[in-house]
Amino acid sequence: MTRLSIIVVEQDRERALRIVDGLMASGSHDVVVIAEPAGLARRIADLKPDIVLIDVANPSRDVLEELALASGPLDRPVAMFVDRSDVALTRAAIEAGVSAYVVDGLQVDRIKPILDAAIARFHMFQKMRAELAATKAALEDRKIIDRAKAILMKARGIDEEAAYALLRKTAMDQNRRMADIAQQLVMAAGLLT
């Protein structure tokens, strides 16, 4: 079986390396990473890959859409991979955050292991990204609540526990998040001083 040539379009170097590792583990392929959006269409046209893998949310995807349409007599027709018999695979890919553009006529049994490997790696990144965002948000929340507590303690001469309880009660009464109430308090206090 001939080796497949795969292009991974990814700006984050570490992420690209991990994706390449995952692909290599799924079989022997020639994998090239393109990091820069500049000149993307030309470079892909030069390399004539069998498969291009790219983050679903990468703005450069629209450039690939154009390549997929521009099938002149000498071009190899390319299409976004949507397997009509296996919608679940497409869905899994999009949900994991990867889209694949494949050369027309490439057998699905050759694409599937590559896409599976890509899905696994992209999925891992989605999860890491979501966790990082959640951690950051939680940290911000805690910081603002701490500041609001300090303001309440000073203004009303109450202890930390009472300040916390007051914030929590206000949030519950107004059916709002504690961090939102804290944010408003900090802003109002800033205006008053």
Partner: protein, 391 residues
């Protein structure tokens, strides 16, 4: 009324304003609707998310559902365009190098004379002219093709897809010589000092439909109630947006981190029709640079579907008659009539019209008798008659 929440996909452009305003100013809440606005990065992503049901509705280039209906995209359930969100809002920019050469030959950069601009450009272009557009199926591609058609320049023009936020870079790096894009991305290139604005999209075609509200037919059938609420909320947001006093407020809202994430001063230019054509701050006023409501801007004329279908069929070797029939069925004038009558929208007597026939605002037959359309003329006087095109 039960409160339901819809997920809406959009790209960061000023023409996403009706969705954002519907959410921010409570037009959606008035209809008992929550909106979860999801900012997307590419038109392909927008199409895929709608196709796979990850968003319920999307802000989409008007020709996209046409291309999808003609089989030029992934095999997704049928897309329908329920209403037009914005008309106009595009600008053509050229590289600093070309602008200098044109100035040296005395071009005045009026921003609204396509013939003078084209002739001046042809005189300095020399060789191939590479023009960036945001997507193969875009109003921008149509504008560029019309503008340059039947001229010596046309033979030397190549059209390339460049994502809007990357337009300025592509011009700076010399990957394209010019581009046509929706605001604020042309002004962004001006601000970065890499581009000069040459023309407004509306100077080429007085009423170029830019974005539409697109849903899957499955969704409109399964959730007629939500579809109607969404359409009414967006229609009222468009009406609010077309009151001139509200445009600065809209620019403020649109500029927030969650939406365009750009300085209000930049989003404001297109919304107010007060564009800086160069980094030196030369200003051109273009009244009604973008419309969200006036002149029945939201009506999904089937003749528009036919116009784009004919173009796409020509470019991709499809049968034009079949393409027009397939595409016009996706422009849901029936949903528009059904859902917007109760909001107070005036409804035209016909669902298709001759495109390009009105050089001036023109009163047409409508339910309330208050409908004034146009102008919608093409700069070259072309008229697209869908009845003739279908024959």
């Amino acid at each position: 009324m039960t409160l339901s929440t819809l997920r809406l996909g959009y790209l960061p452009l000023i023409d996403a304003a009706p969705l954002i305003v519907a959410h921010e100013l409570g037009f959606a809440a008035e209809e008992g609707l929550g909106l979860d606005l999801v900012r997307l990065q590419s038109w392909a992503q927008c199409r895929d998310m709608l196709g796979l049901g990850q968003v319920d509705a999307a802000h989409m280039l008007v020709p996209m559902p046409v291309a999808q209906a003609l089989g030029l995209g992934p095999a997704f359930p049928r897309f329908d365009l329920a209403m037009v969100l914005a008309v106009g809002g595009q600008a053509i920019a050229i590289s600093a190098h070309l602008a200098d050469a044109m100035r040296a030959r005395g071009h005045g950069f009026d921003f609204d004379d396509p013939v003078a601009a084209r002739d001046a450009l042809a005189a300095v272009a020399g060789g191939v002219l590479r023009v960036g557009v945001p997507f193969p199926f875009s109003t921008q591609a149509e504008l560029v093709r019309r503008w340059l058609a039947n001229t010596p320049l046309a033979k030397n023009v190549t059209i390339h897809t460049v994502p809007p936020p990357q337009m300025a870079d592509a011009l700076a790096l010399g990957e394209v010589d010019a581009f046509c894009v929706g605001e604020p991305w042309a002004s962004y290139a001006v601000e970065r000092g890499v581009g000069t604005l040459l023309l407004a999209g509306r100077s080429i075609w007085a009423a170029p439909p830019e974005k539409g509200l697109v849903l899957t037919q499955d969704f409109t059938q399964a959730h007629p109630e939500e579809t109607g609420r969404l359409m009414r909320a967006i229609w009222r947001a468009g009406r609010w947006l077309d009151q001139p006093d509200n445009r600065s407020t809209a620019a403020e809202i649109m500029s927030r981190t969650a939406y365009l994430n750009l300085p209000p001063e930049l989003s404001e230019r297109g919304l107010l029709g007060r564009l800086h054509i160069s980094a030196a701050g030369e200003v051109r006023h273009f009244p009604d640079f973008i419309r969200f409501h006036q002149g029945a801007a939201n009506f999904p004329w089937r003749s528009l579907a036919a116009l784009f279908a004919r173009r796409i069929a020509q470019l991709h070797g499809l049968d034009p008659t079949e393409a027009i029939a397939t595409a016009t069925a996706c422009f849901r004038t029936d949903l528009y009539r059904q859902h917007l009558r109760s909001a107070g929208a005036d409804l035209p007597g016909a669902s298709a019209r001759m495109e390009g026939a009105m050089a001036h605002p023109t009163a047409v037959a409508s339910e309330k008798g208050q409908m004034i359309l146009g102008p919608d003329a093409f700069f070259d006087g072309d008229i697209f008659d869908p009845a003739f095109a279908l024959r």
